[in-house]
Symmetry: C2
Subunit: 193 residues, 2 copies
């Protein structure tokens, strides 16, 4: 998606060729118009996926996941949380997720009652790197006996291996900005439409 790639080149901040910060339009401050455009694009791409629910994990994928759910005809949006609040009296599905940027392990959870066997779940997130977050969400979906109909991410860093792991499970993986290399302060994309 050209407007996203251009925005990354303009406002993204590359740290040590390893971490890409997009705080000014995705991670802290959100460009609402761009997010809505991305939501519209994913709705176009996954229109025939049969998705009945959109799933993400807190926090920064939430606005994009909301926009996708909205453009797919107001699908229910479910987000996994990274801890167990003490107001939660329900049974949960849970999975472990190792964070690449924060170098820690989180437990992510969703209440069992919001994921069930008939659900066709579209995973949406802001980043795909090692794939750990998506694999954790996929684990939750599997525990519920539900089906994952695809993974959509705003920004993919292919060289960190996430796509390979997800495609090996037969999943359709779509990223709007597909980065193949970050080197010497430069960002290279797979292609520009």
């Amino acid at each position: 998606m050209k407007i996203l790639e251009e925005r990354i080149l303009k406002d993204g901040l590359l740290i040590e060729d390893r971490i890409l910060k997009v705080d000014s339009f995705i991670n802290f401050q959100i460009d609402v118009e761009l997010t809505d455009e991305m939501g519209r694009e994913f709705a176009r791409i996954f229109k025939y996926s049969g998705a009945t629910k959109v799933l993400t994990v807190e926090t920064s994928g939430l606005p994009l996941a909301y926009a996708v759910a909205r453009h797919l005809g107001d699908l229910p949006l479910l987000f996994a949380k990274k801890y167990k609040p003490n107001t939660n009296v329900d049974e949960d599905y849970s999975a472990e997720v190792r964070s690449f940027t924060k170098e820690n392990v989180n437990i992510i959870r969703v209440p069992k009652k919001y994921l069930s066997e008939g659900d066709k779940v579209l995973i949406i997130d802001d980043f795909l790197a090692s794939g750990a977050a998506s694999l954790g969400l996929l684990d939750l979906i599997g525990q519920a006996g539900a089906e994952c109909v695809g993974v959509g991410v705003a920004i993919e860093k292919e060289f960190q291996g996430g796509r390979a792991l997800l495609e090996a499970k037969g999943l359709r993986v779509v990223s709007l900005a597909h980065i193949t290399r970050m080197k010497d302060g430069k960002i290279e994309f797979h292609y520009t439409e």
Copy 2:
């Protein structure tokens, strides 16, 4: 807002007359259509506020804040985070927030570069109870020398004192479901339009 009040009565879960769980449409699973309607309503209410930016705190106020920003003409949306990620190399504004439901204290932060003196900030959140979260956000706004033009929340529990604290600071506080009492498993609203 009648549709929200009715939804709370239908799907809200009251625990020990103290905690109101709205996990099925706001806090875990999000009703996207309802959220968009709430966003539209807040945009109508705050149309003349002069807001240049919408501010919330992660996590569950984020979809609503996004919907408000969208309906106010794609205003930038800023969210405060509850910890300092190690990818953050910027200077932050920070404030303490005591959580009512989780009974703990968090530090919330936004990078200084996203809040500045000219900003007119509309605070949006899912709940207003003790007002701790809004006061923390107000603190961040004050540190930046920016102005708060109002506080909009989906659900207010007036008896927990938040409105009183915020109005004492001269702020305009608007809630879409204004709860005056939760007693014997029953929820009472201030009025129904």
